[in-house]
């Protein structure tokens, strides 16, 4: 189909779609007047029942933990898919220009990356550990932690970046994070309660080590997400870093 025809047809039918959407929206409750009941019931009970002050994380890692298990496996599958698609076939590694690690940035710039790295890692751990109390949690922490090695790359410490991100253990960590989530659920099953039921002491509301399995699951998710983003990032970068020439 020619592009002009395609776009014109789209304006007709896409327009109908848009109008249908708008006419449906007329029957929605007006903006700003959420009616519940699901969210309100959970907001009321979760602090008492789960000792978690961040209700969103209580939902994610407990009330609707099955969704998050699926979600973690979506991430896991996608990384598996990216690694598979970008797997190396026959490549010739050019000797001599193997790792381009010449220093172009000033030493100051390179040195200042270290504190930034430290801050990123500390911030990541903070966000991860306080997931059940304040906004944050395993997923956000994972993404922040994964960004730390990229600072190395930006500051042209390419070799150390490669050493961190191409480590064989990374895939194991990722799988352990995703599998660990399933194992936490199975542990509950082994204790005779339904899958993913909390079986740990809930602790005092507001403590770092409170709210039982929520913190544990959050940690597993954190490991998985960190490893997943690093693996995906390296999959895209490996060819450039290693200076490989594609083989036809």
């Amino acid at each position: 189909m020619r592009e002009t025809l395609r776009v014109r047809l789209f304006f007709v039918f896409g327009g109908i779609f848009f109008l249908l959407f708008c006419s449906a929206a007329r029957n929605l409750p007006p903006w700003g007047s959420y009616r519940g009941p699901y969210g309100d019931v959970i907001a009321r009970v979760s602090v008492y029942e789960r000792h978690a002050t961040d209700v969103v994380n209580a939902i994610n890692y407990d009330y609707r933990a099955m969704d998050t298990l699926g979600e973690e496996f979506i991430l896991f599958t996608a990384v598996l898919g990216v690694l598979m698609l970008l797997r190396r076939e026959q490549v010739k590694v050019n000797e001599g220009e193997k790792i381009d690690d010449r220093i172009r940035l000033s030493l100051t710039a390179r040195a200042s990356a270290m504190p930034a790295l430290l801050v990123t890692v500390v911030f990541g751990f903070y966000i991860g550990l306080h997931g059940q109390l304040t906004p944050g949690g395993g997923f956000q922490a994972g993404v922040i932690l994964a960004s730390a090695p990229f600072l190395l790359y930006v500051c042209e410490n390419t070799e150390s970046f490669r050493r961190v991100t191409s480590h064989r253990a990374l895939e194991v960590i990722e799988a352990a994070g995703a599998g660990g989530y399933a194992v936490i659920g199975l542990a509950a099953l082994a204790l005779g309660v339904p899958f993913l039921t909390n079986f740990l002491p809930l602790g005092t509301t507001g403590d770092v080590f409170s709210s039982g399995t929520i913190a544990l699951i959050s940690a597993c998710v954190g490991f998985e997400v960190t490893a997943a983003f690093l693996l995906a990032g390296y999959a895209y970068l490996q060819e450039i870093i290693a200076g490989e020439t594609p083989e036809e």
């Binding site: 961040d54 994380n57 966000i127 906004p135 993404v143 922040i144 060819e239 450039i240 020439t245 594609p246």
Partner: protein
């Protein structure tokens, strides 16, 4: 208060259209990064700090970074292939 939120939403709508209309891919990466920041502002404004945090890490950083990496990998490939053709 709600008018500020409404303004933000309209800005999102306009930026979204802008991202789609940007035909140059590198420009689009910058646009989508801006869009991600804007989106996380909206989330923050409408009392969703958890999502805002994820959005700023994923939508404004990880996503554009991934697109950049993909583009640079493709460019690298093209440059390498051209160079090899010249050598041959």
């Amino acid at each position: 208060m709600i008018w500020v939120g409404a303004g933000l939403l309209i800005l999102v709508a306009v930026t979204g259209f802008g991202v789609v209309r940007t035909r140059d891919v590198t420009g689009q990466v910058i646009a989508i990064s801006f869009y991600g920041v804007l989106m996380s502002l909206v989330f923050f404004f409408f009392q969703a700090p958890d999502v805002a945090l994820s959005q700023i890490t994923v939508g404004a950083v990880a996503l554009p970074l991934m697109i950049m990496l993909a583009i640079s990998r493709m460019k690298y490939r093209t440059v390498r292939m051209r160079k090899r053709e010249r050598d041959a």
